[in-house]
Subunit: 339 residues, 2 copies
Amino acid sequence: MKSITIKDVAQRAGVSPSTVSRVISKDARISENTKKKVLEIMDELNYYPNSIARRLANKKTDTIGVVMPYGTEDVLMNPFFQESLRGISIVSSDKCYDILISTSHKNEDEIDVLRCLIKGNRVDGLILTRSNENDEAIKYLRDNKFPFVLIGSCLEYDDITSVDNDNEKASYELTSFLIEKGRKKIAFIGGELHSVVIKNRFEGYKKALKDNNIEFKNEYLIFDKFLEESGYNLTDKLLNLDDIPDAIIVADDLMSLGAMKKIKEKNYKVPEDIMLASFNNSILAKYSNPSITSIDINSTELGKRACEKLFSILEGNESELKKEIISHKIIERDSTKSI
Amino acid sequence: MKSITIKDVAQRAGVSPSTVSRVISKDARISENTKKKVLEIMDELNYYPNSIARRLANKKTDTIGVVMPYGTEDVLMNPFFQESLRGISIVSSDKCYDILISTSHKNEDEIDVLRCLIKGNRVDGLILTRSNENDEAIKYLRDNKFPFVLIGSCLEYDDITSVDNDNEKASYELTSFLIEKGRKKIAFIGGELHSVVIKNRFEGYKKALKDNNIEFKNEYLIFDKFLEESGYNLTDKLLNLDDIPDAIIVADDLMSLGAMKKIKEKNYKVPEDIMLASFNNSILAKYSNPSITSIDINSTELGKRACEKLFSILEGNESELKKEIISHKIIERDSTKSI
DNA sequence: CTGTTAGCGCATTCAT
DNA sequence: ATGAATGCGCTAACAG
């Protein structure tokens, strides 16, 4: 499939390649006549500029990369990532930018993936959809001064552009909410242990307990991946304790479905025996049975704003504030209804 | 950020650029010595080949494009597309290929988007996640002999490589299933009117009615987009009929959630008053209240196989069969439980 | 306003 | 086994 080049168009139109190039890039200083002529030929020949060649010449890819935590495969099951991806997609689509999903290869070093993306000139900028403590990826991107935006927060540096919720506050509110409902044995099921989101949510939980003079019990605290299966398995541990909790806060909706399943299997009732409250307010929480109280963190908005901030950086308008906080809200549902 | 080129490495290693290039592309005929030396320098300089330049020289992008129906934004809300995307991601990640999500710009002609993708040399191949009757996109790709695989079926040509379920059969089974449960007033809520999936599912439904001597009623048949909202609105119409249905088949889980919501609002009971059965068996169907009987179509597998077939084409092994059928299975849940 | 020239970084003949 | 030269298709600096 031999493709038509700018040369073909130029020849056919009786002008030079650069003139055609100028028409393509809408250069002002070009006569209406030749412009019209060139456009005609382009249409006639069904010509379309080769984006690769263009990128090489421009040193610009018109592509933004999205980096997910651990295996994209697992992550794409989680509504939070799906929704933030959607937000990113909406904004980038508007700017006619492509999205490159970093399909991080399982056992590969993540830094390698980033290096490949950056040094390989595959993307103009990146959006990281997660952050860990001492995140090597963040350090790498920062060291290399590569444009990126974080969905989440960075603890180590304060010059990282990021979009996040106030997860500590949200978690504090959610915990207090359960305490007001009369629950005192509140367990916390986290996601990835070293992720900052989880850390924040855990802090809020702990603080709320403390402010209400409730003893924090280590066995009520467990972590694993953001998967339904993890929620299921972790809850099993909780329900095998001598003193089982009367409420569980789960750091993610998908996990809370797993938790719910296990609770039912063990013949406990939600909310009577155990109240369940969760984060992210995905569609899953809404339609689960019973429906699950969840913190709406505006996942799509997180993605949108992250992408908008990335474009600001790419366009050189880095005037905006570095750290942006997206609002959250408790959406109360049946899983925490007092009877 | 000036990047290191193959030249820099060559100079530092005291060899010519072409030698370095050969090392990179693992050319056999190169001495172990120089090879080792070059690799060392590459590591030392933290060199990484520029993928853009590489692509231009190779005329190959190592990227596959995924085309969604109408606005990517809406579609990314639907679990079916999320899951098939996940399948695609799993396979392409394995091959170290990038995935480009065609962020189809709302009002733009879809063919324009494709042309931009193809003539612009942005992707090596495409996966279409939907098919319509007289699908212009399919025609365009076929006419241009561009490598692509369809998730779905094409009615007009039989030389299109595709992966699909036997949707007519699945729908026939599902409808028969409801009839066996004693329901006779079965409505059908479709998705996009002109999509082949919906057409097939509708055919199966109609056939089952006929084989069971049940009259097909036109007012029991309605269509709209694959969105929760659509399911909600369409169900409203059904429930405003003089003779409301006692069962509804919905062509998609997300839509069925909307349907469920409306049914509840109108104070009907599922399954007692109205049975609900759906397609795609996403996590939503499983956790909905009541849980929804749904046809498991193996969405992730559809994506995986589509991607594998695309790679076969790209690698020139087009030996496989053109049309592949993925199995399906009715997953029975509470929404159709006889009392 | 337009043409000429020289890259962008890599791969690939064709020599040696 | 390696180097030199040329081209992938487009852009941009410099002329005119």
